[in-house]
Subunit: 247 residues, 2 copies
Amino acid sequence: MTAGKGSIVKAGEAMGFKQLFDDDSSTYTYLLWDPSTKDAIIVDPVDIQVDRDLKEIESLGLNLVYGVNTHAHADHITGTGLLKTKIDGFQSVISDASGAKADIKIGPGDKIVFGSRSISVRATPGHTEGCLSYVADDESFVLTGDTLLIQGCGRTDFQGGSAEKLYNSVHSQLFTLPDETIVYPAHDYKGRTSAKLGDEKKTNPRLGEGKTESDFVEIMKNLNLSYPKKIDVAVPANMRCGVPDVE
Amino acid sequence: MTAGKGSIVKAGEAMGFKQLFDDDSSTYTYLLWDPSTKDAIIVDPVDIQVDRDLKEIESLGLNLVYGVNTHAHADHITGTGLLKTKIDGFQSVISDASGAKADIKIGPGDKIVFGSRSISVRATPGHTEGCLSYVADDESFVLTGDTLLIQGCGRTDFQGGSAEKLYNSVHSQLFTLPDETIVYPAHDYKGRTSAKLGDEKKTNPRLGEGKTESDFVEIMKNLNLSYPKKIDVAVPANMRCGVPDVE
Ligand SMILES: [Fe+2]
Ligand SMILES: [Fe+2]
């Protein structure tokens, strides 16, 4: 008989992590990997940055498994469709609740495993009905998509958005994580790359200490945001997990 | 480029689990596995039951990776030494704090990964200084070794035992898990195979509700247990992870 496959992940051993930025849509893309096996995932890739991403992947020696979206974006086209044409066996992943097409549909409580590391899935609807957040296996960080931004949050006036749902998602699914957990959002428009969750719990001007659900609903009602520039192009493309349409 | 290795573990997908019993020492041995990949570990195997274990492993189609001990046992000889002679690449695992020899030494916060499933390690000294408990990745169960037994606990008068330490291990590391978590101990002498942790928190006659640390120390002082039958044979063998000595 021959032994199976396993490993020991030592206490405190950090997951491989790289944050990348798309200037055009102010989108953060994340590479996460098992430092031993180099099995990796990419979260929220942007179509026009796929060449950059592939160079990073090659120089880090990663074996990409999945392209995971936090939701069907309205401001850029996902890179998962293009990545599928470049990497044999690579699969796209999105929430079942998004209604979008992808190789794999996931929901709350699922785990996305790469090598011996993983992220776990929390349902955080509100910006869209299908928004997910992803918690690192050691709770050292959370990818919040457009649900919780640094000192802000995603808009709730398009794509089945709901201020009430977003408020409850943040309070029940994100603010229940440890204060030390690092928030990595899908966007930032002011050069901030991360925040401590404990700081957002206290000082987020829309969702932090002292803000009630009805305060939040009122704030979101009065934002007077303009129509999202790329929504009419990006959403249809993202509902089939990016271009090219690879079915 | 070719994709790496990963998987999706769906919410609620149970780990493969089988409990086995050695009549001679009243020891429970556990087989745990990833239902998709069949990668598996065995916890607290008993030397005289290795043939039975191998038959189980074969009939379940498992690929055994590790033989993990909760501690250096005094009442039976571990089967990990024998299993190493039967399975190519199979490795023995025990706590660093045990002082015993093994292929891999682990400590609190480490994770033992098999396929895409894992157990996490908690230090629960008291029965011995090196006792560990193992929590399933979904917290559905905990393997408590001789730290917490059903309506009882391991003795604390040999092998560097300490009633104070055992009391604090149980309260800080085990009773902090959910009430629904199932306790699977290393032994039972009355035919009980498992207990709900919530019931032990309430009704364990030594450690449950209302019992203080000093109550517990007093109880353990007055047990008047006989000298462990096999300790002089078993402990030296287990300090080198069982016979044959395979270094
Ligand atoms: Fe968005
Ligand atoms: Fe023991």
